[in-house]
């Protein structure tokens, strides 16, 4: 039971908290103090006595502030997200990656967090692709082709982990340029370099390469692990990326994960496009068919191209026979709550609730009493501006952070519905 409690994820906010707990940077006792800073919340009343802290109210007001700031950004900028991204992750595995200022080593820390990053990236960018590049012994080497399978990338990186030689930024940029410049025009081309070294050992003029990347609209970002370098800063400025240097492991992870959510789509970086796609059915378990990708007879576990009925093993892919882009529609649907966000609920004071006509004084969606426990008085709650239903503060948070549906609005027909015609 406790196990399930731990595994259960209530919403994005909680997910992050959970990950923080795994941080090994500080001792546990230090962490509780730095994270919570509980003393700062203490308040005195007029006579100087300490007042009890209402954690729930604080939590809710924090959430409301977050929600307000989110809804303040215009709808257009919220929607304009370049959701089809082609990202090359460049990992510097020169001998500087072996240094042990990060525990146990920079390399191990990078590998651990790149794994988290790759999973998070595909969760947030379902149609995007990643390619891995490493720098070792002064040369850049492509570890994986651009692809959509997180497992393949993670496996390839873990196998190749080990550092040697010098680092070469120019070689890496030339390689990613060759990979990225041929992708379709609707895609966002991005490069993320995790740079450990303090120098770059290049065969030619790196400034020329930087201009070439700029021309090819590669957005290059660098996360440094040692100290700031001019050439990295210059690269990021020229190409519109971000340059940051990590202070410690926690900071590194934070910087890395900032690259997981889609960046605002700048019109100059990619052309919007309508792409024809198919949403294949999953074949019945136990059915046997020859797949078009491996040319093998397989039992169950496959998808059927809606246009030519060919069988493919994995999504997303392109049908080998008719060329249709095949995706799993739930993958697309994961980001739809960005497109149709529900508006923030309005706060209802205890007095307003008291005066309201809602007889039951319970939360519309979970049926929790809206009265403060122990008393018969109304507590604070929230109301949907559209359906006018009342919700408890916990549901308010859950609805906006995880569910992304208003149960009240979903429980009514807004448009005129079918009536007596079909009724007997």
């Amino acid at each position: 039971m406790n196990n399930s409690e731990k595994k259960r994820r209530n919403g994005e906010a909680e997910e992050e908290n959970e990950e923080d707990v795994e941080d090994e940077g500080r001792d546990a006792w230090e962490r509780t103090y730095t994270d919570e800073r509980s003393w700062e919340a203490l308040e005195e009343d007029e006579s100087g006595l300490l007042q009890p802290i209402d954690n729930k109210a604080i939590y809710h007001s924090q959430y409301r502030r977050r929600l307000q700031s989110l809804s303040a950004t215009s709808a257009a900028s919220r929607i304009q997200k370049g959701l089809i991204r082609f990202l090359c992750v460049v990992v510097d595995l020169s001998k500087a990656a072996g240094e042990m200022d990060f525990k146990p080593s920079r390399m191990a820390v990078i590998a651990k967090h790149v794994e988290t990053f790759i999973r998070e990236f595909f969760d947030q960018n379902p149609l995007s692709q990643i390619g891995l590049v490493i720098i070792k012994d002064g040369v850049a080497q492509s570890l994986t082709e651009l692809g959509g399978s997180p497992e393949a990338h993670i496996k390839a990186l873990m196998v190749k982990l080990g550092c040697a030689g010098d680092s070469s930024l120019q070689n890496a940029l030339e390689l990613v340029h060759d990979t990225l410049h041929k992708i379709p025009s609707y895609g966002h081309r991005e490069v993320l370099i995790l740079y450990s070294a303090l120098s770059t050992c290049d065969p030619g003029d790196i400034m020329e390469t930087i201009q070439k990347c700029k021309k090819a609209k590669l957005r290059c970002s660098v996360i440094g692990l040692s100290a700031e370098m001019f050439v990295c800063k210059h690269l990021c400025q020229e190409t519109g990326g971000s340059y940051m240097v990590a202070l410690d492991e926690g900071h590194f992870k934070e910087l890395l994960l900032e690259h997981a959510p889609p960046p605002p789509a700048l019109a100059e970086f990619a052309i919007a496009n309508l792409i024809k796609m198919g949403f294949p059915q999953r074949a019945a378990e136990g059915s046997i068919a020859i797949c078009s990708c491996h040319r093998e007879a397989k039992v169950g576990e496959g998808y059927i191209c809606p246009r030519c009925k060919a069988r493919v093993c994995e999504l997303p892919t392109e049908c080998r026979f008719c060329g249709l882009t095949l995706v799993s529609s739930p993958h697309l649907a994961r980001s739809y709550h960005h497109l149709f966000p529900i508006e923030p609920f309005t706060e209802v004071s205890a007095r307003q609730l008291e005066l309201s006509r809602v007889a039951s004084k319970t939360c519309f969606s979970c049926r929790e009493s809206l009265l403060t426990p122990g008393t018969n008085k109304a507590g604070p709650c929230a109301a949907c501006t559209k359906c006018k239903q009342y919700f408890c503060l916990d549901c308010d948070i859950y609805i906006h952070e995880s569910l992304h549906n208003c149960p009240g609005c979903e429980s009514r027909r807004i448009t005129p519905a079918a009536a007596s015609a079909t009724m007997s």
């Binding site: 052309i271 496009n273 008719c322 739809y336 549906n405 009536a419 079909t422």
Partner: protein, 298 residues
Amino acid sequence: MATLPSKPIADDVSLLVVLIDTNPFFWSTSSSSLNFHQFVSHVLVFLDLIVRLSQLNQIVVIATGHNTCDYIYDSSLDTDQVTGEGELPALYSFVLQRLEEFVNKDEKLGAKQDGLSEKRVSSLLSGSLSMALCYIQRVFRSGPLHPQPRILCLQGSPDGSEQYVSIMNAIFSAQRSMVPIDCCYVGSHNSAFLQQASYITGGVYVKPQHLEGLYQYLATVFAVDLHSRSFLQLPRPAGVDFRASCFCHKTTIDMGYVCSVCLSIFCKHHDKCSTCGSVFGKAQLDAASDRKRKASES
């Protein structure tokens, strides 16, 4: 914990949230061997079975109507009625009475809206699913010791493609909270939404072959707790329908056009995305090569 101090809860204690489809359009037109009253009586015996399996089991019934959704029954609110020996008819008559009230209310709400669109015969599944998930979150909040929740959709109406986005939102939230959505579909065609719901959340989807034996399906597949479920040979899904709804006409499609900026789905080619406002460039590389390939094929 705080709520049930004297009752330790094991992992085989369930919280079952049952969503009952009461849509009059479906039940009045269904030509199947099961009418609404027979359906409800099968379900009542099944609910009775759940509370008899363990006295700690909790059931919540939510009705999915055509115009509204509402809570019908919550066993945690009237424990004396259910756990009392030999008083089970009380559960039956209570649920029946509440269902009847609900159906009347639902019908009245429908009568108020006079605009006719005969096409729309779906029920408000997104509403009842959202309510069920909020209820389950409340149970999660009640402390570390809580019954294992699961949702059972007893659905017969066809999918309401206008609810596509909200149902998908609910499915993903259930998946994040690790709440399985089970489905027993009594309609004539399969439900693509519920197939996806079960597939994504790890629930079971069943479309009974013989509706007159509905209770048997319910009792054998959906009665056991999640822990014991792993020991069962459950029906294997006969494929999952991953079709989506287009944003422009709300029709279910298996092929369509997707906006590369916001991923909105359209059934026809547009010049401008109605969701995000992007104007689509002329560089139709994919579509062009697509057409070429098609032309050379035929």
